[in-house]
Symmetry: C2
Subunit: 315 residues, 2 copies
């Protein structure tokens, strides 16, 4: 499978991603072997509210890169119920006209791992596509709070898409999304309010001192208008990151995040399977509920037993 | 301060909560001392989309309980920017007519702790209000994904509030919120579409086999209509939980969650301060980025060093 992925064989890639999604133990071995072949792809995050036309925009951006002869991977992160965990959008209903192009690989993933937060599968899928020689990888998400923040931590360039009518929601917009965009796009730019929306974003950006001033662009994705400009600006941001050495810094941060998240998950899964299901712990719970002990004392005991270094003083 | 809280003195309670919010080390000692005095309060979660009238409804429910002579605490969990962390709604602009009643304590808290997820301060504030003799504690949140799920894990009864017009968003509604309500309220029930919305929720509940069938009620909170029925149904659910022994089970689950979250946070904070900032780890990162090592091998090494029991086989 490793060789198949490196050669960019669609079936091998699809099988590798499925392995990761099932959180199989073999997935770690696979990723370990693929890792030396990664680090070449450029990751672009595309986020924004539902209905902003992100899929259409993604579709169009992919086409521009394809015309330039680049291989493009798309990871569509779908919002999921915290309970069901399944992806709402299927791969089949997306981007039909790109489906037969071997230079494009599209995959939908559920947004949340079992422990909340962005699914580790998104990072791992990006690694696989990277190893498979995809030069650009788009990670497309619906903006719903924490997820889009984690996309930023993963993507090299983050494109925030909105629509003219989103003006009313600008307060919410301001609170979270303003800080994460490297590039803003007002899509559906043939609708009323486009100029106003663009100005609104520009004004908000005026309030922040940034080394990189995010451009605010207008597109009409379903007519293919404004797409080349978006692609040019992504490339300009790429250049900026490379020259300012921020690309390396950001990727280091993403790596720390990845390691931290994986340790976190391991820890969490294991305190459940190894500690919380023991009869000893059940007795402790009963004592706490009877008010014969308290959670704070018992947490101290657990830490002393399982992670004594947590309480050692720094240095 | 412990004595002040137990006596229900407003100033002591406010100071205790502030201590918790600042995540002071003294907060743990305080909670440890207060814990034996807790376990008597009944926790009600109120959640729903922005603009559903949750604050007004909360206000009215508080008034009914006050008429019955009960002391009521309200914890308003405010949506916050993932970056700024501040609470948007202040306490001052809420429920002015209840502000002078010493039998009511209202506090706004930011929804997210520094590590994402529901702030541990919400659980701890509930403990303080419990120790202070508040018989009902309402935790009010804006429904935004993960947060409302965590409220459910904390609250004994969860009330999901919606409005007649929310029908269009019913798919989203269905995905997450349907599973968490013990009680549904269509508020602003004098608007068109009320009966349709009620029917829609009833139909969706028909699809699920539940031991407790959540009642679907209609209210007009700003006119005080339908409130007594909501309070009655909360009480009926309380009785159901008590008789079916589910109250004890649910509280045990909430305790596990609490302990797990706190261990999690300790772990997370400390892998950052003790591992990730070391020069040794920085070298490892550099090696990975040069593709001389890979994250999967390094994660194994970290686990072996810091938490070897994570990799021990079960039993």
């Amino acid at each position: 499978m490793v060789q198949g992925v490196i050669k960019g064989q669609t079936r091998a890639i699809a099988k590798a991603i499925s392995l990761i999604e099932r959180e199989s133990i073999r997935a770690s071995d696979l990723l370990r072997e693929l890792f030396p072949h990664t680090g070449k792809a450029y990751l672009v995050g595309i986020t924004g509210p539902p209905g902003a036309g992100k899929s259409t925009l993604t579709n169009q951006i992919v086409k521009v890169w394809r015309k330039q002869g680049k291989k493009v991977g798309v990871i569509a992160v779908d919002p999921t119920s915290p309970f069901s965990g399944g992806a709402i959008l299927g791969d089949r209903i997306r981007m039909n006209d790109l489906n037969t192009d071997p230079g494009v690989f599209i995959r939908s993933l559920a947004s949340r791992g079992s422990l909340g937060g962005l699914s580790p599968a998104v990072y791992d899928t990006a690694l696989i596509l990277d190893a498979a020689g995809f030069e650009y990888i788009i990670i497309e998400t619906v903006g719903v709070g924490q997820t889009e923040v984690e996309i930023v931590e993963l993507a090299d360039t983050t494109v925030v898409v909105t629509v003219p009518e989103a003006g009313d929601d600008i307060q919410t917009f301001k609170a979270g999304i303003m800080e994460i965009g490297d590039l803003f796009v007002v899509n559906k730019g043939d609708r009323p309010g486009t100029a106003k929306m663009k100005l609104l974003i520009e004004n908000m950006l005026d309030l922040v001192q940034l080394e990189w001033r995010p451009p605010v662009l207008v597109s009409i994705a379903d007519k293919g208008e404004g797409i080349e400009e978006i692609v040019d600006q992504i490339e300009r941001h790429h250049q900026y990151l490379a020259i300012s050495a921020r690309l390396a810094q950001d990727r280091k941060k993403a790596l720390i995040k990845k390691i931290s998240q994986r340790l976190h998950n391991l820890f969490q899964q294991n305190i459940i399977s190894k500690i919380f299901t023991s009869s000893e712990f059940d007795q402790v719970l009963t004592q706490i509920l009877k008010r014969e002990s308290d959670p704070f004392t018992e947490i101290d005991r657990l830490v002393q037993k399982y992670c004594p270094w947590l309480y050692e003083s720094n240095e």
